[in-house]
């Protein structure tokens, strides 16, 4: 079984973003970029399935700018076999990305597609579900456990009240939550080896996808900030502040 994994280049999760002075967007000049943390978990899960003999090949795919090849090479160093880069603008919308993935799924016929549940830049939480709808596939979102059993996938999902396990008939789409696994680090020899692994370049047109604008970004503002309050010296002082000043207890 082939596994297709999505990889997105995003701002590093430790970086605090700044909004551009003209409020047109956030400022990403000279900002450290990295693989979206949920995509790292997706890559790790696919590589583990290959190591366990469940998967025969792990293909990673990214839809984005030239620089997203860095994240693909990174995924190859982590153990993916080959990569597909689909050239697009950095702010391409989730539905257009899902259409590009749908076209590749059609061509490659993977048994499983693993994607991060959300990207930490746009925080949309949409792409996997959209892809599942487009290719008429079952979906298991926010997975914290994945077991492949013959032609079924058992997915334990993180839901608001606890955990839910669903059974999906393969081929299926799984989106990863944080607790699915602990991603490994790439070792230097593997980074060297990854440079020789195949990386195919495609355009959206090659995939028959005409990107469509579903929304317009009008403005990006900094959120209203909270100012630090006061430090209290004791529990008694804290209780009296909460009772008499804030009136919340």
């Amino acid at each position: 079984m082939k596994i297709l994994v999505g990889v997105k280049r995003v701002i590093d999760y430790n970086v605090k973003v700044r909004v551009k002075a003209d409020q047109s967007n956030v400022d990403l000049t000279n900002v450290k970029m990295a693989m979206n943390p949920f995509c790292e978990i997706a890559v790790e899960e696919a590589v583990r399935l290959k190591e366990a003999g469940v998967a025969s090949e792990v293909i990673v795919m990214s839809v984005g700018t030239t620089q997203s090849q860095e994240q693909l090479r990174n995924a190859l160093a982590l153990g993916a076999d080959r990569a597909i880069w689909v050239e697009a603008e950095s702010d391409i919308e989730p539905l257009n990305v899902a259409k590009a993935f749908a076209a590749v799924v059609e061509k490659e016929q993977p048994g499983l597609v693993i994607l991060g549940k959300q990207s930490i830049d746009s925080d949309n939480n949409q792409m996997g579900q959209m892809l599942a709808a487009l290719i008429k596939c079952p979906q298991g979102t926010f997975a914290s456990r994945l077991v492949i059993d013959g032609d079924k996938a058992l997915v334990t999902r993180e839901i608001d009240g606890g955990l839910r396990t669903v059974v999906l008939t393969l081929p299926a789409i799984v989106t990863t939550d944080l607790r699915l696994n602990e991603p490994r680090y790439a070792k230097l020899p593997d980074i060297m080896k990854a440079k020789r692994k195949p990386l195919d370049t495609l355009s959206l047109a090659d995939l028959g996808v005409t990107p469509k604008a579903h929304y317009r970004l009008d403005k990006v503002e900094a959120p209203s900030t909270r100012s630090a309050g006061i430090k209290v010296a004791s529990v008694d002082e804290l209780i009296s502040k909460l009772k008499d000043e804030a009136k919340v207890i």
Partner: protein, 310 residues
């Protein structure tokens, strides 16, 4: 122009997030229909029919909807979509699962997690873990939207007269996935998403057993218990208590953080709380930058002292 609001409920009552969703729907300004989906949910539909501002309730009651699986939910909403300009739902683990399916099947974009309605087309939503707020205009004829409940008022009036309830007979045929089991956290405490007081613990609490100290204070205050991801990852508490960018978004009157450093991903989930209290033994912990009241100290001393003095 009509808005379809998809209700969140537990099969017996509507959640407060549904009321917040209704406030957002009212701000959009159309007639409002509320869709109640599930198994044996007639009483929920009846409850929705008395909410101010609702013109009609649609009730889809069938076995296939019992667990709100994304595939049948998506098919049902798409079946109803032609009559609506806006399809909205409070953000929760169900709507996050099926709403993007609805969007893709309708070939429209989705605006996730709005925190303000500027017009019927223009909305605000947090991006980058709430470190920036985007204003976006939805360009499609049908607008598919999820609503961040904590940003909208839950005080909805009741009408004396109920609006009509229409039964939807459409039964989705999707059999792509099936439910196997639930492992639901039983708790007698208030629900984290809607609680007016929350006591949260982080890695500093140290262990699952020590969390009893957090729980004791929560019980004294009638508060819900929350946690940072580090506390969840370490196995101190279950995952559904996680507050943050990728956990629950909360905005209680009082949020108390014990042994939580204040990473941006955690702040993303709680910084709209009315009053924030932080207790941390590190006086430079970033959480103090957003706390109204900070106490530099050892939580193992502070928690029992507070619990006994309240």
């Amino acid at each position: 122009m009509t808005t379809l609001l998809i209700a969140e409920h537990n099969s017996s009552t509507l959640s407060s997030a549904t009321l917040c969703g209704l406030t957002a729907a009212q701000a959009i300004g159309n007639d409002i229909h509320v869709l109640v989906v599930g198994k044996n949910v007639e009483s929920v539909a009846d409850e929705a029919a008395s909410l101010a501002g609702v013109a009609k309730v649609l009730c889809a009651n069938a076995d296939v909807y019992e667990y709100a699986l994304a595939e049948p939910m998506g098919d049902l909403v798409v079946h109803l979509a032609a009559n609506y300009s806006h399809i909205i739902a409070p953000s929760n683990s169900e709507s996050k699962d099926f709403m993007p399916r609805v969007s893709a099947l309708l070939d429209v974009g989705q605006v996730s997690d709005i925190c303000a309605v500027l017009s019927a087309e223009q909305f605000k939503r947090p991006i980058y873990a709430g470190n920036a707020i985007a204003t976006v205009t939805a360009l499609d004829a049908t607008k598919v939207i999820t609503v961040r409940a904590s940003s909208f008022d839950k005080n909805i009036k009741q009408n004396d007269q109920k609006c009509p309830v229409e039964t939807i007979d459409f039964v989705a045929e999707s059999v792509l996935s099936s439910w196997q089991s639930d492992d639901i956290t039983e708790s007698t405490r208030p629900d984290l998403s809607s609680a007016s007081r929350i006591v949260s613990g982080g890695r500093g609490v140290g262990s699952g057993e020590n969390f009893a100290l957090v729980e004791a204070l929560a019980d004294k205050l009638g508060a819900a218990v929350g946690a940072s991801r580090a506390a969840v990852d370490a196995g101190f508490v279950s995952n559904d208590l996680q507050v943050g960018q990728t956990g629950k978004i909360v905005a209680p009157d009082l949020y108390m953080a014990f042994g939580i450093s204040g990473a941006i991903q955690h702040l993303a989930g709680m910084k709209d709380s009315k009053v924030i209290v932080a207790v941390n033994k590190d006086e430079d912990a970033p959480i103090f930058q957003v706390a109204d009241y900070g106490l530099v100290g050892d939580l193992f001393a502070v928690l029992p002292e507070m619990t006994s003095k309240l």
